[in-house]
C-alpha cells in the first residue's frame, strides 16, 4: 500500500499528533481543579441517568432527578458554587473525567483495584452498592453459579464484568448503557442482566412492563463502597469532598436523601452514620 518512506512518515506524524494531543490535555489539567472550580464559581459533576433511583429525567420538566443528582447538588451547595450536571455513560465516564470534561463523578462507580490505579477518591464512601441479577421468572437461574456459560448483559465499563467472567464463567455482553442492556435482555439476547441492585429492585417492584422478571438471588455481587471519583493526584479536591461526605453521614442527611429517593440505606451507611455521630469522631 504505502512505500517504506511514506509509512515511516505516517508513523512519525501519528506520534507527533498523539504527543500534541497528550500535551494539550496535560496543559488543561495542570491547574489545580479546586482553584478552577472556585475561579469559575462552577463545578461540573458527571452523573448517570440510567433510571431511578440513582438518576433519571423527570418527563414533565425534562430535568435530571434522583439520588446522584441530589448528591451533586449538595456538593456544589456546600462548596458554595453553582453546579453543572453532565450525563455520563458507564462507557465514557472515565474518559470524561480524565479529559477534564467533568471535575468529579457521582456515577454508580464502586471502588476496584483497576479504577484506584488511574483515579483518586475521597476515602469515605457514600453507599455500598452491589450488583443484582434480573432474569425472566421461568429462566431457571436461581443462583450466581447458574450463569456459567450463558450470555449475561452488562454496561460497558461496569465493574461486574470481571467477576462475572472470571468467577462465574458467564459470557459477558456489554452495551453502551443500562437501557440498551435491558432491551437486549428483553430481546432474549442474554438470559440475565447485571446492574446496580437498587435500580433493578425498583424496576421489578414498580414497573408493570417488567412483571415477568424477577431478581432470584438475594445476595448482591461484590458489594463495594460507592465513592465520588476525581482525577489522580488532586488532593485538594479530594480533601474538600471528603469533608462533605463525612458531614453527610454525621448529619444524617444521606439517610434522609436515600429514603426520599425510595432507596433502602445499606447496613454500611447506617454504621457510618453511627460512627460519625458518636462524639469525638
Amino acid at each position: 500500500m504505502l512505500s517504506r518512506p511514506t509509512r515511516t512518515t505516517l508513523a512519525h506524524t501519528l506520534r507527533t499528533l498523539a504527543l500534541f494531543a497528550a500535551f494539550s490535555a496535560g496543559a488543561a489539567h495542570a491547574d489545580a481543579t479546586l482553584d478552577r472550580i472556585h475561579q469559575r464559581h462552577k463545578i461540573v459533576i458527571g452523573v448517570i441517568l440510567s433510571g431511578p433511583p440513582f438518576g433519571s429525567l423527570d418527563p414533565a420538566t425534562q430535568k435530571p432527578v434522583g439520588f446522584n443528582v441530589d448528591l451533586a447538588n449538595d456538593v456544589a451547595k456546600r462548596l458554595g458554587v453553582d453546579v453543572e450536571l453532565t450525563a455520563v455513560q458507564p462507557s465514557n465516564r472515565v474518559q470524561f473525567l480524565q479529559q477534564g470534561k467533568v471535575d468529579a463523578l457521582i456515577a454508580n462507580m464502586e471502588v476496584t483495584k483497576e479504577r484506584a490505579e488511574i483515579l483518586s477518591y475521597p476515602p469515605t464512601p457514600f453507599e455500598e452498592i452491589g450488583g443484582a441479577l434480573i432474569t425472566r421468572k421461568d429462566s431457571g437461574i436461581k443462583t450466581w453459579n447458574d450463569v456459567r456459560g450463558k450470555p449475561v448483559c452488562v454496561s460497558q465499563g461496569s465493574n461486574y464484568t470481571k467477576p462475572l467472567a472470571e468467577q462465574y464463567g458467564a459470557q459477558v455482553k456489554a452495551f453502551r448503557g443500562q437501557p440498551e442492556s435491558l432491551l437486549a435482555l428483553r430481546g432474549n439476547n442474554c438470559v440475565a442482566a447485571v446492574h446496580v441492585a437498587p435500580t433493578l429492585r425498583l424496576l421489578v417492584a414498580r414497573n408493570p412492563d417488567w412483571k415477568d422478571y424477577t431478581i432470584p438471588v438475594s445476595n448482591d455481587l461484590i458489594p463495594s463502597p460507592a465513592v465520588i471519583w476525581v482525577r489522580k493526584g488532586e488532593t485538594d479536591t479530594q480533601a474538600a469532598l471528603e469533608k462533605i461526605v463525612q458531614d453527610w453521614h454525621r448529619s444524617g442527611w444521606l439517610i434522609g436523601t436515600e429514603r426520599r429517593n425510595s432507596m433502602q440505606p445499606s447496613q454500611a451507611v447506617l454504621d457510618l452514620h453511627a460512627k460519625y455521630k458518636a462524639p469525638g469522631a
Binding site: M1, V94, F175, E180, N188, N189
Partner: protein, 246 residues
C-alpha cells in the same frame, strides 16, 4: 512469549504509548478474537450483500410493477437512513417482538451477529442494486434484441447476458461499496458483537489506553481495505472483456 513481549512493550512504552494490555492473556485473546470476528462479519456481509443486491437489481429492472415498486421503496428507505438506526430498530425492536412471539415455540435463535449480518448486508445490497441497475440498463439494446431473437427467455437474458455485463460495468463501484462494507462492520460493536471495535472498547474502559488501541485498529482496517482494493483490481483484470467498456 512473555519475556520478549515484555521487552517490546517496555520499548514502545518509552514513547508514551501503553501497550501493557498485550501482556494480559484474556485481553489479548479477546482482541485477537475481535479481529477474527471482524473478518468473519466482513466475509459474510460481502457475500450476503452481493446476493441480495443481485436479487434487488433484478426486481428493480423488472417490468412488473409488483416487483419493481416494493424494491424501489426498500432501496430508498435503506439508502436514506443511517445503518446504526436500522441496526437498533432491528435488534432492539424487531428482535424483541420476535422473542415475545416465539417465546412458547422455543425462543429466538437470532444472535446479534446474525442481526448485524442481515442489516449490514441489506443496507449495502441497496447500493449494489443501484450500481448493478445502472449496469443492466447500460447493456446495449441491440445485444438484448439479439438474445431475444435467439430464443432467450427474460430470466435467461438477465442471468446470462445482462448480469455478466452489468457486473463488469459496475465493478469499480462494487469494490468501493465492499470497502465501505468492511468499514461499516464496526457498527456491530453497538450491539455487543465481539468485533475488533467492541474488544477495544472493553479494554479501554478498564485501562484507559484509547490512543494505543486506535492505532492498532486503524492499521488493521488499513490492511483490510488494502486487501479488498487489491482483490478488486485483480478481479477487474480477470473479468476484462476486450472491446467492452474499458
Amino acid at each position: 512469549m512473555s519475556a520478549p513481549a515484555q521487552a517490546l512493550v517496555d520499548a514502545i512504552g518509552k514513547t508514551g504509548l501503553n501497550y501493557s494490555f498485550v501482556l494480559a492473556p484474556d485481553e489479548l485473546a479477546s482482541f485477537l478474537h475481535g479481529m477474527l470476528v471482524t473478518l468473519e462479519l466482513s466475509l459474510v456481509t460481502a457475500l450476503g450483500s452481493l446476493a441480495a443486491g443481485v436479487v434487488l437489481a433484478a426486481m428493480l429492472t423488472s417490468p412488473r410493477a409488483a416487483l419493481a415498486r416494493p424494491a424501489r421503496v426498500f432501496v430508498e428507505v435503506t439508502r436514506n437512513t443511517p445503518t446504526l438506526v436500522q441496526l437498533f430498530c432491528a435488534f432492539l425492536v424487531v428482535n424483541m417482538l420476535i422473542s415475545e412471539a416465539l417465546r412458547n415455540l422455543g425462543g429466538n435463535p437470532l444472535t446479534p451477529f446474525i442481526w448485524s449480518a442481515i442489516v449490514i448486508s441489506l443496507h449495502k445490497a441497496a447500493f449494489h442494486a443501484e450500481a448493478l441497475r445502472a449496469g443492466i440498463e447500460a447493456v446495449p439494446r441491440a445485444t438484448l434484441e439479439a438474445a431475444q431473437s435467439l430464443g432467450y427467455s427474460r430470466r435467461q437474458r438477465l442471468w446470462e447476458v445482462q448480469l455478466p455485463l452489468a457486473l463488469r460495468f459496475a465493478l469499480p463501484t462494487l469494490v468501493n461499496n465492499m470497502v465501505d462494507l468492511v468499514k461499516m462492520t464496526t457498527v456491530a460493536s453497538a450491539i455487543a458483537v465481539g468485533d475488533i471495535t467492541y474488544a477495544s472498547i472493553m479494554i479501554w474502559t478498564q485501562r484507559d489506553n484509547v490512543l494505543e488501541l486506535m492505532i492498532l485498529i486503524l492499521l488493521f482496517f488499513g490492511a483490510l481495505t488494502f486487501a479488498v482494493n487489491r482483490a478488486g483490481q485483480w478481479l477487474e483484470i480477470r473479468l476484462r472483456m476486450p472491446g467492452y467498456g474499458h
